[in-house]
Every structure is written in C-alpha cells, then in structure tokens.
C-alpha cells in the first residue's frame, strides 16, 4: 500500500463508526525559479494533506489537516464530525460512492520521481546556459504527487504521478519570447531546447509595431489556444454551468456550434497528457467528447451534479477537490483533435493576412453565457502578411467570443502539444491542455499594450 493510501486508511480508522471518505494528496517537489539568468527563488516542498468527509444521514462535513499522526487524525475526525452536525440534511446528496474498477494509466516515471534539488538546479542551469542572446526568466520544476481516496464503502484508489516542466521567457529591452515543455517524464523535457525556442522567438520581436483595433484572421500557437480553451472550459464545459444556465452550451447539445474541423474531448487517460485514473471521489476517469466535428456533445459530470440533474446523468469521473467544489466538475485534461497542417507556417499561409499569437496573458471571463473572454497577447505577437510571418507587434488587447473564434477554422496543425496549465497554487496537481496550433478567421483586437520585453 502506498504512503498516501496508508494515511487515507488511518484517517478512516480515526473516524470509526462514521460513513466517510478520505482524500490524501502527498507532494514532494522542487522548483528552481530564475530571473535575469540566475536562480532567485528556489523552493522545495514536502507536504501531506488529508481531507476527511463525514456523512451523517445526509449531513455533510469536511475537514482537512496535514498533521497525519494519530492525534492529528483523531482531531480531524472530530472536526469533520462537528462540521457534519452543523449542516442541515442535504436531500440531493448522492451518497458516498461505491467502488468501481479503475483504468490503468501511465503518468509515473521513476527517473522523474527521483529527481532531487541538485537535479532541479542543474536542469534550470541548462535552460539558463542555452539562453545565449537574451537573459532567461522562468523555472524548471519536477515533482511527485501521490493521490489516494478511500471510503467506508470500500473505495480504495491510489496513484503516483510525476511531472516536470521547463518554462522560459527569453527577454531583454524591447524583446521577449516564450516556450514551455511539460510531461510526466522529465526525459521528455529538455530545458535547453525550451530556452533556445524562447530565444529565437525573442530575437524576432525587436522593433514591435502597433496595430489598429479590428477583427483579424489569426494563428494561435498551442500555448495561446490552450489557455483560451481552458478558461472557456471553466465556465462552459462543466455540468454545474449547465444546471445553473451559465454555459454557452445550454440548449445547444446536438447543435453545430463550431467549425467541423473542431473536436474537443476531456481525456485524462491519454498517455500524451498528464494521466489520471480517478477523480477526487475515487471514481474512474472517462474520456468525454465535448465537441465532435463542431457539434456540441457533452459536459463533464460528477456524482453530485448527476444526482441534482435528475435526468439519468451519470458521473464521468470529474469530481473536484473540496476546495473547488463551488465550481462543480471541471475538465482538467482537455484534448483538441489535430488537423492536417504540417506546421504553424502552413496555417500562416492559410490565414494569408492577419496576426500570429504565441501566448496569452491575464485572461478574464467577460460573459460566460456567450463565451466572451478578454486578455493580452505576450512574448511573441506578429503580423501575418502575404502568407508569411511579418513584422513583430506590441502586445494586443483582445476580447473574443470563443464560439465566434471557432466558427470558421481554416486549419489546425497535425502534431498536438501538451501546454502546461498548472501554476502550482495549493497542493500540486499537474494538468495541461493537449492541442495543436489553430487558425481562425475572427480574432477581435480592441487595443494595444506594452511592447515585448522586460
């Protein structure tokens, strides 16, 4: 039995006599953050968090602690019990889950799990050394996260996950470029290659010009489209947004919503992503087709939203952790079907006249029901002229309706890329979006901001 599973079992023992489930997240990680080509914020974290949910006849209370010795767990059980006693009965409570068979998934690499501070510092140094023309800003991080769920109804799930990410902004006065790589195997992440990609992009941003507001054709690199899609997914692909009539897809299931080249799934089982076998209730992860050839097909569900829907809906294995419960089930393994273009340059040729966007910054939902999102471009924005990437542009303010952006898609690239989406707040939970680059006929630019660079 794993360490996290041991802790989960001990928490249940401490809550003897209760109906309960225990979720444990154990983390060991290192992050060597650098700026101006020097490590300035190196952080090592070790923690074990146990979250105990007690259900007393429909009254639900949750408590958590990182004191995992017997006294801490006894007090945890008492606090969870007190919380349950304080809650009115919830007639919609779906009950504790029965155990279900779990899929086998990839996602754990022994070599990555064994990386220590010296390795993390060495790999950060590798990125710094490869950033020869511009100073490097970014980090290398690796970690091992153990997730375990156990319940008094017999659920017993545990998974060891590894992850590694190198992220680099190569930047100087009036120039900056971005790149990242993430994988559950550190062997797939070459920090030097990431730094070189960022440096080459930065060199092309010198002399950035401004741009008039307006609707442009555009190519979005995977970094850019991944973040846009993740934000859209937060407010539109979860079952709670359907039940509360906040989602763009309300009343549109089965309808053509996007260009037929666009298919989107949530697939935590895909070994090319950051695989997960089960959700935060221990229910098996399922691949969920959200959009198929432009037609809206589904939402992600957990047992709670399925029970509230009262229409035969079932969990798809997307129960959130208690800290995110207010948002309901969310997709954290988005996967966009690739297209037929060999490269982003081919998409540029398809676009002909427009803009090229490397990545985005500080997105915000303007209108969830219409899928309107605003944000800035950053670290590599260019004009496209005559089917080629042309002069660099300053960072652009955009405000786009994602459904309008995806209404006409000239093409997508053949090779998807895993774009990291984790910012490592709270307990470590690596996730990303697997997506190709994409071309659109409608990207609304409504202002300009700062020039590239520091």
């Amino acid at each position: 039995m794993s360490r996290a599973a041991d802790v989960a079992a001990s928490a249940l023992e401490a809550a003897a006599g209760e109906q309960a489930d225990a979720l444990v997240v154990a983390e060991r990680s290192g992050l060597a953050r650098f700026a101006a080509s020097e490590v300035h914020q190196p952080t090592l974290i070790e923690d074990v968090v146990v979250i105990l949910r007690v259900a007393r006849d429909g009254q639900i209370g949750i408590a958590s602690t990182n004191r995992i010795e017997s006294e801490g767990l006894r007090e945890l059980a008492a606090r969870a019990g007190e919380a349950a006693d304080s809650a009115p009965r919830d007639d919609d409570f779906a009950g504790l889950a029965d155990p279900e068979p779990l899929p086998e998934v990839a996602g754990c690499d022994d070599a990555t799990a064994e990386l220590g501070p010296d390795d993390q510092a060495r790999l950060a140094a590798s990125a710094i050394a490869a950033a020869t023309d511009y100073p490097a800003y970014g980090y290398f991080t690796s970690g091992v996260t153990e997730l375990a769920v156990a319940s008094t109804k017999g659920v017993s799930a545990s998974q060891l996950m590894t992850d590694a990410t190198a992220l680099v902004i190569a930047a100087g006065e009036g120039a900056s470029g971005y790149a990242d790589r993430t994988s559950w195997s550190a062997g797939e992440v070459d920090p030097a290659e990431v730094a070189r990609e960022a440096g080459e992009k930065a060199a092309r941003t010198v002399g950035a010009r401004t741009l008039d507001a307006g609707h442009y054709r555009a190519v979005l690199e995977p970094y850019a489209f991944a973040e846009l899609l993740q934000y859209f997914a937060y407010v539109c692909f979860g079952a709670q947004s359907l039940l509360e009539e906040r989602s763009y897809f309300c009343g549109r299931l089965g309808e053509r919503v996007f260009d037929e080249k666009v298919s989107i799934a949530d697939d935590a089982l895909d070994p090319r992503g950051l695989p997960k076998a089960f959700d935060f209730e221990g229910m098996p992860k399922q691949r969920v087709q959200l959009v198929e050839e432009g037609v809206a097909r589904g939402f992600v569900w957990d047992r709670q939203t399925a029970a509230r829907a009262r229409d035969g809906a079932a969990t798809t294995g997307h129960a959130p952790p208690p800290s995110l419960r207010e948002y309901g089930p969310l997709p954290f393994a988005l996967s966009v079907a690739p297209g037929e273009a060999d490269s982003a340059d081919d998409l540029v040729a398809l676009v002909g006249d427009g803009i090229y966007v490397t990545r985005l910054h500080y997105l915000s939902i303007v209108d969830p029901r219409e899928g309107v999102i605003t944000g800035m471009t950053r670290d590599g924005t260019f004009r496209i002229r005559e089917g080629r990437v042309a002069e660099p542009l300053v960072n652009l303010r955009f405000t786009v309706s994602v459904p309008e952006l995806l209404a006409e898609v000239p093409g997508l690239t053949r090779e998807p890329k895993l774009a990291n989406q984790s910012d490592y707040y709270g307990e470590r939970f690596p996730y990303g979006v697997l997506t190709p680059a994409i071309a659109t006929t409608d990207f609304n630019v409504n202002g300009v901001g700062s020039a590239p660079g520091i």
Binding site: L31, A32, R33, A35, A36, V39, H40, P42, T43, L44, I45, E46, D47, I60, I62, A63, T65, N66, R67, E82, A83, D85, S86, A87, P88, D90, D91, D92, P117, Q120, R122, Y137, G138, Y139, T141, V168, E245, R246, C250, E326, H361, S364, I365, V366, V372, I373, T374, M376, R378, N395, R397, T399, V400, D423, Y424, N446, G447, G449, S450, I454
Partner: protein, 471 residues
C-alpha cells in the same frame, strides 16, 4: 533550531517561519449547504542565503527533526542553484514583539451551525422569480506565526480575519446576469472579529441584490463610446490594486516576476519624477490600517509595519519593497514581504494600499457629469504584463444624464492605459464614502501564492474613457 542548523550548514543569513493556519469556509447555494470546510495546515519554512544565493525549503513537521531537515535542504538547494550575484539585504534593527489582531468576537467562537444559519438567512432574502441561483458564504481564518532570524529577530503574530458575501445569478431567454454584495469573487474580508461579518448586513442587502440581478435581464447593454465614468469604491479598489499596487512592487520593476505575473512599466529612476496621474491621485501603502487584510506589526522579514506614500499629488513617490530590493535601489528598508503560509518563500506583496479620499459625496460626483456612466461591482478584470493596458467589466451600470442616474445598463466594460487613465482622474469622493475592500485572491509567484490585501477607496470620476467593449 532551524536557524542554527542553517548557519551551521554554511548560511550567512537564515530566517525560519512557523505558521499554523486554520480556516473555516461555509457556503450555501439554493437553500442547502454547498460546502462546510474546516481546514488546518502547519509547518516550517526556512529561507537561507548561502554565498549570496537564496534557498528555501519547508517541512510540515513542527519538530526538531523537521526544522533541521528544512534548514539542511534549503542550504543544499542554495548551493546547488548558486548564481553570480551577491544578494544583500537592507540593514534593519532586529525586531521582537507579539501582535494579535484586535477583535470583539473571535470568528472561531461562532459555531459552524450559526455560520450556516447566517448564510441561509441571507440567501433566502435574495429570492426572485428570475434568480436561478442564490448563494451566500462566510469565512474565517486564524494564522498564528513565528519568525526567527539569524540577525536576532523574534516575532510572534496572530492574525485573524473573516468575511462573507452573497451572489444572485439570474437567467432568462438565454441571458445570464449576476449581482453580488459587497463584491464579487468572494465578498469582503477584514482582519477583525465576527462583528465585521455582522456589520456587512448580508441579509439586509440581499433583496436589493436579487432584484437588481433580475432587472439586469431587461436592461440595455452598455453602449460603446468615449465618455466620463464614475466608478464605485469597490471597483476603484481593484483599479488601485491592478494598476498601482502591482506595478509599484519593486521585484516586478527589477524583472524577478517576469515569468508569471509580469513586470512593470515603471523603472527604478522613475521615483520622484514620474507623473502617474492627476493631482487628485494620492496613494498610500499602510500596513497599520485597522481591519486591513495586510495589517501586521512585522512583515515576513521582520520589518516593522509603516505607512508610506506611493503616489502623492499624482507623482510616483515610493515602491513596495523587500530588504533585498530596498538595498538594490538604495532607498528604504523593505516592509512588504509576505508569504502564503509556511510552504512558500516570502515575496514583495501589497499590504493595504489606499487611494486617499478627496471631497464631496458620490451624488456630487455624479452631479458633475452631463453625460456619462456610473459603474458598480467588478465582474471581469485583465491587465497586461507591464500593467499598462487594462480592461475591466462591472456587474451593473447606470447612464448619467444631466447629473442624474438614468436607465440601468448591463455588460459594462471600460478600458485604458494606466497613466493616461489616472491622468484623467478629476475627482475623488470624500472620507464619508471611503470603504476598505478586502481581497483574498491576489496571485503571484512560482509556485503560486495567494495574498490577502485591502484597499481603501472612495468613488472616483474619470474623463474620456473608452467604454462598452464587446467581443
């Protein structure tokens, strides 16, 4: 123990922070409990300078073994990741003392049952035929922390905060609108006792909130154009946060936050010369503000709390600093270093950052507008990596015609460039309209850290602002 171990391992400087944090979060939705969460976390974080390089490591175990392990790992990481610079800290006197948040009623003495009841009562008062979702939430946090440094600082602080809020989500015929009180994104919090939550008056305000959410479904969209806007105190607070607070963090100015939150349009030599805004703009950093979420006796480097001008009469007068960045710029002594719990390294953060009040009332501000828009309660927010181009949306707005509020408007947005926008500030309402907004979701750092900060502000008026941006 941790500091001794770090020095023995070769550190030239070390500090150790022990943090014990407890949170209670209660939320209800549509008449039932959505979440009832009682969270505790404790541990030790050790920060060291070895050969001029930083290292940080933490351990959840509050034991000699945990302290020594964290110190050993921090010094090891600093050695492994050594750079070429020799980082120096601005000199400060060793600090010692004990500080506790003054409060009347400890929020942890309020039972969870009473917290649930508080939410349910407020929620019931939100009810309206077009309101599909009602929700209410309250929270409490106690952070008991100890700081010891190799320079002799020895500080104990117990910071207690609590807060709450309500939301009404209305939907009809494919339209969705939301109204919140006292703000969106988690309500308001303060360092105070439960008397603060009682004082919010969630149940009292709920009928208005529910009615406005429903009324927004019939409101016209905010038109596009360039006009005069009057912004309520809560949205002004967020404007201060995003376009004054973050760009004046000196670590951003020096580029050390470039890979995540971004940098700043400000340069170190802008100090005392850059015109940030009009003469009506006076911004103060104040970690002594009663009730502020950024109030303390000492920051997480042991520097004593203070009150400093950041912008005076529209001119940049100060940065938010750490001991390291203060030494680098050659001015100040730090005082803005804060960490999110025990497992993160302190960063330069806002504490409490206020737009100082001007004169008159909100009514007088509106009365001075012939044609414009009044905007209330943040809905969306975005700003570029140098904090120049911003775009905000608000939950509700009203047109202003001949000095009076007119029809209600939905989906209002405004956008601008930071110094241009603040340069168009032509009035700030007076002390009677000044409110302290407490935010709990300020993100920064890698790995990510959330900070709790407060901003005092009065409603303010800006001219020639672009409004009504749509996708």
């Amino acid at each position: 123990m941790a500091v001794e171990a770090a020095l023995a391992a070769g550190a030239s400087y070390a500090d150790a922070r022990v943090v014990l944090r407890r949170n209670q979060n209660v939320s209800t939705k549509n008449g039932r409990v959505e979440n009832l969460l009682d969270v505790e976390s404790e541990g030790i974080g050790v920060r060291v300078l070895v050969g001029g390089a930083w290292g940080f490591a933490c351990d959840r175990r509050l034991s000699d073994e945990g302290a020594r392990a964290a110190a050993r790992r921090a010094t090891g990481f600093a050695r492994a990741a050594a750079g070429r610079h020799d980082r120096r800290l601005a000199p400060v006197e060793a600090s010692s003392g004990v500080y506790r948040t003054p409060l009347e009623r400890d929020p942890f003495d309020v039972s969870l049952s009473d917290k649930v009841e508080h939410c349910l009562r407020a929620e019931q008062a939100l009810a309206h035929a077009d309101v599909k979702v009602t929700q209410a939430f309250v929270r409490a946090q106690r952070e008991h922390k100890f700081l010891v440094s190799s320079e002799g600082s020895d500080v104990e602080q117990e910071l207690v905060e609590c807060g709450g809020g309500i939301d009404a989500l209305a939907a009809r015929d494919g339209l969705f609108q939301m109204r919140s009180y006292p703000s969106a994104h988690g309500g308001w919090s303060a360092q105070a006792g439960w008397e603060f939550v009682d004082g919010l008056g969630l149940e009292r305000e709920a009928p208005r909130v529910g009615e406005q959410a429903a009324a927004l479904l019939s409101a016209d969209p905010c038109p596009a154009g360039v006009t005069t806007i009057v912004v309520d105190a809560e949205q002004v607070a967020l404007q201060v946060h995003e376009s004054v607070g973050h760009p004046t963090e000196l670590d951003r100015v020096y580029g050390t936050e470039a890979s995540y939150a971004g940098t700043s349009f400000l340069k170190p030599d802008d100090l005392a010369s850059l015109r940030y805004g009009s003469e009506h703009m006076n911004v103060t950093a104040d970690s002594t503000t009663p009730g502020g979420l950024g109030t303390f006796a000492f920051d997480d480097e042991g520097v004593a709390a203070d009150r400093d001008p950041i912008v005076a009469d529209g001119v940049l007068r100060g940065f938010l600093t750490s001991r390291e960045t203060a030494a680098r710029i050659g001015a100040g002594r730090g005082g803005s270093m804060r960490a999110d719990g025990w497992s993160r390294m302190p960063l330069v953060r806002m504490s409490n950052l206020h737009l100082e009040p001007g004169e008159g009332s909100l009514e007088e501000l509106v009365g001075g507008v012939d044609d414009g828009v009044y905007l209330e309660t943040n809905k969306s927010w975005s700003i570029d990596d140098k904090r120049l181009n911003f775009q905000f949306g608000t939950q509700i707005a009203w047109e202003i015609k001949s000095g009076k509020l007119g029809r209600m408007l939905r989906d209002a947005t405004y956008t601008g460039i930071t110094p241009v926008f603040w340069g168009s500030l032509d009035a700030v309402a007076g002390r009677d309209e000044w409110r302290l907004s407490g935010l709990t979701n300020c993100g920064k750092g890698q790995p990510g850290q959330s900070a709790h900060v407060s901003h005092g502000a009065s409603p303010a008026r800006f001219t020639d602002v672009q409004i009504g941006v749509r996708g």
